[in-house]
């Protein structure tokens, strides 16, 4: 990594920030915020943060000293008309919140070549997906391989999986807040950011599956016709959007407080966190009820579907987060202990076998009594009337699930994170097949008139799906990146206020 000899020393918004932050130490101490701000936040983070900012204010960098020395941080926070209203009443921090969002959004465009490469690759994939979707919307859904027999396919499969991922990401919230696992507190935010990205993915999958996306406004209550409460899809619209807003609020609020160096007020996030626990379960239960409520589809019409969904969500969520945490460790100075990863592994030790047990229960119920209602399960596991397209998928998924079960139970996976990551990837892939293609498609095979018409996604469907996952990863990368900027103190009210042009600051502050 080359160091930048001519680091900027002017007062542009980029001042004070290194050109790359991923792996190398900053080039010159004079141009950086104090090193203390990059210490790990292990214990009660906000108090530590406040204390460190105090110190930082006292040992301001030479560059700041060169210009008029601003008051210490604690003073500054009160002498500038406070962005947060401690007086009560209407919050004048709304404009500041917007500026904060704008500020951190800009950091998404300031990084290393590796980051740009990653984002460019994702953008290319997303654009390929957009193009394929545009072709599908213009030319008709005939470009997919769905038919009147199998009328939902890869898109809804991915939607189902994405909602589960979103619900499961919040799984870390339970140990952190319900069981007061302090190590978890530091990393809960990543779960919430993953939930945001996963909801975006799910919503995109629903939109691309619609035959008439131009008629989306028909869903808006008041202007359109919203068939609530009869239609489970309307419940799903409500809970998914609500969940998105919840996570945006919690993550945004916590980051904003960190940015300002203030202690987050419990009433603004703790109730929402507890709501999000219940809401996450209901998000995925509602999605399950979409399918379970259809009497004409015996493969789905089972009471066990909602519990299975929740359990598989709590496999895919933690599996992804374990990998995400290691990625964060690799690319950022933000310290994450092993505690959260061990806790998540413990969770996987419960949920992976629980899911396999439930699947076994379904298999038993179908095959012991036999009859026509076993036809879908038979198609899935053994093929029906010679049609066997899904059989390798399903057995592959089962193999992945069993392999991941083995890995999380091996004691070595506690220390050997590479093995654990492999296990998590297997669990993720296994659940993707089992809950996606292995759930949606067999619901349609055999059809309601017991005909076996098979389905394999078309190229358009693959392109759109990969494009949406790429878009979701873009959202996740940007979210995690800006969160890390704030969490490691790279971007704080200090750097922000300092980087503002003078006219933006109100007069009479001593500056």
């Amino acid at each position: 990594m080359t160091k930048d000899a001519d680091a900027p020393t002017d007062s542009s918004p980029d001042a004070g920030l290194p050109s790359d932050e991923w792996t190398s130490p900053p080039p010159a101490p004079e141009t950086l915020p104090p090193r203390s701000l990059r210490l790990p936040m292990r214990t009660d983070s906000s108090a530590t943060m406040a204390r460190m900012l105090e110190e930082a204010g006292k040992q301001a960098s030479p560059e700041i000293r060169e210009s008029e020395r601003p008051p210490a941080v604690s003073e500054r926070v009160t002498s500038i008309p406070p962005p947060i209203s401690s007086r009560g009443g209407v919050h004048p921090d709304i404009p500041s919140y917007t500026l904060f969002l704008w500020r951190i959004a800009k950091t998404a465009f300031e990084s290393t070549w590796r980051y740009y490469l990653w984002m460019t690759m994702l953008t290319i994939l997303a654009l390929i997906g957009v193009n394929a979707w545009a072709g599908q919307t213009g030319g008709g859904m005939i470009h997919t391989n769905m038919t009147d027999h199998v009328s939902w396919g890869l898109y809804i499969a991915n939607f189902t999986f994405g909602v589960g991922l979103a619900a499961g990401a919040v799984m870390m919230v339970i140990p952190a807040y319900v069981y007061d696992d302090h190590d978890m507190h530091d990393v809960v935010i990543f779960g919430e950011l993953l939930a945001i990205a996963a909801i975006v993915i799910s919503l995109l999958f629903v939109i691309v599956d619609m035959g008439r996306p131009d008629r989306l406004w028909h869903l808006l209550p008041g202007i359109g016709r919203f068939n609530w409460p009869r239609s489970m899809l309307t419940w799903d619209v409500i809970v998914l959007n609500g969940y998105l807003l919840l996570n945006l609020h919690i993550a945004g609020y916590l980051l904003y407080m960190r940015f300002l160096g203030r202690r987050p007020a419990r009433r603004w996030y703790v109730p929402f966190v507890f709501i999000s626990i219940g809401w996450a379960i209901s998000v995925h239960a509602v999605t399950a009820f979409l399918y379970a409520g259809l009497g004409g589809r015996p493969f789905w019409n089972t009471a066990l579907l909602a519990p299975r969904f929740i359990v598989t969500a709590f496999v895919s969520g933690p599996a992804f987060v374990i990998v995400l945490l290691q990625v964060v460790r690799m690319f950022s100075a933000y310290q994450i202990g092993d505690g959260p990863i061990h806790t998540l592994r413990q969770i996987l030790r419960v949920t992976i076998p629980a899911n396999l047990f439930m699947f076994g229960s379904e298999v038993f119920t179908a095959f012991y009594s036999g009859g026509a209602h076993a036809a879908s399960m038979r198609y899935l596991l053994m093929g029906l009337h010679g049609k066997t397209t899904l059989v390798p998928w399903m057995w592959g998924a089962l193999a992945l699930n069993f392999a991941s079960l083995l890995i999380v139970y091996l004691p070595v996976s506690r220390k050997n994170l590479r093995l654990l990551t492999a296990g998590c990837s297997m669990a993720f892939g296994g659940i993707w097949v089992e809950k996606g293609m292995g759930l949606i498609v067999p619901g349609f095979v055999p059809s309601t008139l017991h005909e076996v018409i098979e389905y394999q996604p078309s190229l358009t469907e693959w392109k759109v799906s990969i494009g949406i996952w790429a878009a979701g990863l873009i959202v996740l990368t940007v979210a995690v990146k800006v969160a890390l900027r704030v969490l490691t103190g790279r971007v704080t009210i200090d750097t922000y206020a300092h980087s503002l042009p003078p006219r933006a600051l109100p007069g009479g502050t001593g500056l």
Partner: protein, 299 residues
């Protein structure tokens, strides 16, 4: 890297990204060009005033002329008081000739390439009602020995699973019992197609293509006008005909007279006679859908 160089690269990248995006969404133009503002803003059928309905019907007739090259009449006859439609099907007489499916295809302006029809005829083995052993793609002389034929179409259920699940209320049950779809309100999510236990619904995977001379010009807003791409459709018991008192097209085409249609509220009707004198059953009764389509055998 100097800030100027960095900024230049960023601007270059942004421009490249924007033009790549514009190129990527270009196929959407084919779609958006076909949608007028009136079409986009058109309200739900049940919310249109009589004047708005007139205007809408006139516009749709003009659009059909422009796009498909044929002068058509689109009507929106309301349900008649005191009429609830019922349909009977005599499985002893049906020979599986599929003339009903063919008539449906012609009457309802279906896409020619797919030979789409709302009626699907299953060839079943005598003595068994196992749909798993049914065959819808038989292609030999009928009736084959030891087989009977089961045509299936929309059952116009009294407790329809499809209308329950539609998120935008684009499909509903009319007072005369027919479950209809507002093609200009449907968003194409296909939830109703997943919910229907009788494989009664069809989706327009593409815009229907029909030669102008083959178009049936006698059309109804809720029934057989030419549907746009991306919306659901289904059998409507030919309501553009039956609400004028005529028989549905499938019944008129049936050479053996296996089909019986009429007003369930009229005690003198043929369908009431069938219900009173034949051993009538419905498909998938255990699902509680309460169909209005009654099957019977003579013996």
């Amino acid at each position: 890297m100097t800030p100027t160089k960095r900024r230049t690269l960023k601007v270059l990248g942004a421009t490249l990204g924007a033009s790549a995006f514009a190129y990527a969404v270009e196929p959407l133009r084919a779609f958006t060009q076909n949608i007028t503002l009136d079409q986009f803003l058109q309200g739900h059928f049940k919310e249109l005033t009589p004047e708005q309905l007139e205007v809408t019907l006139a516009r749709l007739e003009q659009e059909t002329k422009d796009r498909h090259g044929r002068d058509v009449t689109i009507r929106a006859d309301p349900a008649i008081e005191g009429v609830e439609f019922g349909y009977g099907l005599n499985l002893s007489i049906c020979v599986g000739c599929r003339k009903c499916a063919e008539a449906c295809h012609v009457e309802n302006n279906h896409d020619r390439a797919s030979n789409n029809s709302y009626i699907r005829v299953l060839e079943m083995t005598q003595g068994s009602f196992n749909l798993e052993h049914g065959n819808a793609s038989y292609d030999h002389a009928v009736p084959a020995p030891d087989k009977y034929y089961l045509p299936v179409q929309c059952q116009q259920c009294d407790n329809p699973p499809c209308t329950k699940v539609c998120p935008v209320e684009a499909t509903w049950k009319e007072p005369d019992g027919i479950v209809v779809v507002d093609y200009d309100w449907c968003i194409g999510c296909r939830y109703c197609e997943a919910a229907c236990p009788y494989h009664a619904r069809r989706f327009n995977w593409t815009t229907p293509e029909i030669a102008p001379e083959e178009i049936n010009p006698d059309q109804g807003y809720l029934s057989n006008r030419i549907r746009p791409q991306g919306v659901m459709e289904k059998c409507t018991f030919c309501l553009h005909r039956t609400r004028r008192g005529e028989l549905p097209a499938c019944l008129e085409a049936c050479p053996t007279g296996a089909r019986v249609f009429g007003n369930l509220l009229d005690p003198e009707s043929e369908i009431r006679w069938v219900l009173a004198n034949k051993r009538v059953f419905v498909l998938k009764e255990e699902l509680g859908t309460r169909p209005r389509f009654f099957y019977f055998f003579d013996k």
